[in-house]
Symmetry: C2
Subunit: 428 residues, 2 copies
């Protein structure tokens, strides 16, 4: 696998480039904007996810000999375009919403400025990353809210593409998940990984007892024993008899986990294992997590619903040309029209910090900033180079945690509804 | 990015390995089976997708120094396990459904035989690939059926993770899509790629006329002009005036594409451009495609719905330990119980070739094979090596095309319902 991101690109980006190089328009200064027209499924907020990966992808967007040979052999573009691509390196400006920031319909999530040629070719990979990662981010944030401070672990790798899995693990951590099962995410992003055993481990052994003994011998009594391979209450009994009352946790992966968690808690307490945690997993989504709030659950393992965006697997963002040589442009044939001109956004907030509205304005016509308002975009790339002191994943994680607190109380409701704050478009 | 697939793995696979190496059970001969308990969303059939990628992933499942260092540093496993992983190379047997084959609930899609140690560690990456690719495959096959012989192009890269996009393009081709927009899929899998221009190209220019002129100069009159940037009928008029009646195609990407396609056809015909094709795109799924059957549409561009599995983004497959040292094993605590023992499948068919049922039987208790029945699994890996003459992507594409013809007529209905043929479990 090449580390170049240059071919993670739609064919037509390069044919447009070829035509524009030929007629001279390729060098016109342009502004492209990433935004979404709506939040999926009646969600109340979106979460900017994948910005850090976008910046990496832009840095690695280079056409080496392997990429050029492929384009030449298949006559995707002409010789002139190949020559131009050989030296490609984005030299423009990118501003955007930092990762973990909330967004709403019309929020200018990313603004890319440069010549048409250098900006248009980035469309596909930028959208791929933002559409995937932001979809996961919104689902993950809702789950963390629903978990209400309890530990929540990402374990969905097996339910999605093997590379999406790594990115989803990163985003889950951004959103406040405690850890992931995905080892590659641990390597690539320094995220804590965790895991103990599956049912196969118990089935492999001659008895549940020998499986538990083996796991404790290898991982210590602080480990989590999976107790639902045969009979849960016998499993719990055996787990405490084997590990002692210092057992770290029991995990239940099937059945009506609410009822079972309560029974498990009572049984553990009656056995004296009052400090042993109860962890549940198995087809949990934000609604199931919320429904378990009153139950004695200490931790959740979440898989499928996280990595599939819990019903909204893509964030539906678009990358639109909004300005050419300082002139606003927009498609006009349908309701899908967009607003021309480079934009920026202000998050208006009350003195309490509660967000009131998202003001999207022309970049050159900034309205007055109230005492608690703030600019949402930050500079990310200047003249092709990453700006200094871009936020780290840990900082973005804290950003999201704080941002959710600023939502009006209705904003954290899991039910479908309107965006938590309205978007107000000024000018244009 | 490393080409090793070894860390695309859940942490617990390796802690299970460590425990099992410690207690000696790691070397027990095991059989793991991949299957799904149900088809998502009332689908009538599943399509095996990703098998070729699974075989590649197994070959590249090696722990190099970079992977081992990561595991050592984070104390995922002990020294003994690191030593064992250093020499890891799958040496067992894999049988499975070839790519493009249909499957049903309980079909033994993949059977992995080897020691517990060498088979358990493959679980995550095998499931990631099969769950993603088979989800896309089923959606893609339904779209191709709905298109009923018309050309259909995959252009969903921007709506999904950048690497899922490449795999989705491969699967779309498997399912009968004509081409993809994804250049990396072209490089990696030799799939035809295609594309011309987006609205940005028109907006970049001083007028629609100059955009069309430029595109035709670069790509010839056989190109596809996107005619809905401003006003569709004026766009079509301009397109034919600019390219002549030999224009290849017009594309409409917005609005009620059925009505607009009809109007476009009439207008093109009236202008003498009777050979110019009408291509539509924009939020099409299998239902929208089917609803356009009566309209004069020559080709479809499909994006979001394809790459998100059209409502079923994961195939819900599991990888279950079913046999240890020749002894069937199965979890027993809940309704999610599975059937123990290594299995295989026979597709029972009528003389006409129509499939009648999926017979899943113990691998050692094969029922008699009727004259039109066939074994569904094929050998894929023997003693760790790929068998000779594994099918190519083109052969698998043809396999799926033929397989869909064997479904009972209800099987191709897009509406929700029961699987097209029942699964019958023999013995066990």
């Amino acid at each position: 696998m090449s580390s170049s991101t240059a071919l993670l690109t739609d064919h037509y980006e390069l044919t447009m480039l070829a035509s524009a190089l030929r007629d001279g328009t390729a060098h016109r200064e342009c502004v492209f904007e990433v935004f979404t027209r709506r939040l999926p499924n009646g969600r109340r907020y979106g979460v900017a996810g994948g910005i850090g990966r976008v910046l990496d992808a832009v840095e690695n967007f280079r056409f080496g000999e392997a990429e050029l040979a492929q384009l030449a052999e298949h006559e995707v573009v002409d010789e002139r375009t190949l020559d131009w691509l050989r030296d490609y390196r984005f030299s423009g400006q990118i501003d955007g919403y930092p990762e973990g920031e909330l967004y709403f319909p019309g929020s200018p999530l990313l603004t890319v400025r440069g010549t048409f040629a250098e900006a248009v070719v980035l469309e596909t990979v930028i959208l791929s990353i933002l559409n995937h990662d932001s979809a996961i981010a919104a689902a993950a944030a809702r789950m963390v809210s629903a978990a209400n401070g309890r530990r929540i672990i990402e374990m969905g790798s097996r339910r999605t593409h093997e590379e999406s899995a790594v990115s989803a693990a990163r985003i889950a951590y951004l959103a406040g998940f405690t850890a992931t099962s995905n080892l590659e995410a641990g390597r690539r992003y320094g995220i804590p990984t965790t895991g103990t055993a599956a049912h196969a481990f118990t089935l492999l052994h001659d008895s549940e007892a020998s499986a538990f003994e083996s796991q404790i011998a290898a991982l210590g009594t602080g480990t989590t024993l999976l107790v639902d391979t045969y009979d849960i209450s016998r499993g719990i009994d055996l787990a405490v008899r084997t590990a002692g009352t210092g057992l770290g946790a029991v995990r239940i992966d099937s059945g009506d986990v609410g009822v079972l968690a309560r029974q498990a808690r009572e049984q553990l307490d009656s056995l004296g294992a009052t400090g042993t945690r109860v962890v549940v997993s198995g087809d949990l989504d934000e609604y199931a997590i919320a429904s378990l709030r009153a139950e004695p659950v200490d931790g959740y393992g979440v898989g499928t619903s996280l990595v599939t965006g819990s019903g909204a697997p893509t964030a539906e963002m678009v990358y639109k040309l909004v300005e050419v040589e300082g002139r606003p442009v927009a498609k006009r044939s349908s309701h899908k029209e967009s607003r021309g001109g480079r934009k920026a956004a202000i998050r208006r907030c009350k003195e309490t910090g509660t967000a009131v509205e998202e003001v999207v304005h022309g970049a050159d016509a900034e309205p007055s900033l109230g005492p608690h308002d703030r600019h949402v975009q930050i500079p990310m790339i200047r003249d092709g180079k990453l700006v200094d002191d871009l936020p780290t994943l840990e900082q973005d994680r804290e950003r999201l945690r704080r941002a959710l607190v600023t939502l009006p109380w209705e904003g954290l409701k899991l039910s479908n509804g309107e965006p938590a704050i309205p978007t107000v478009f000024l000018g244009s």
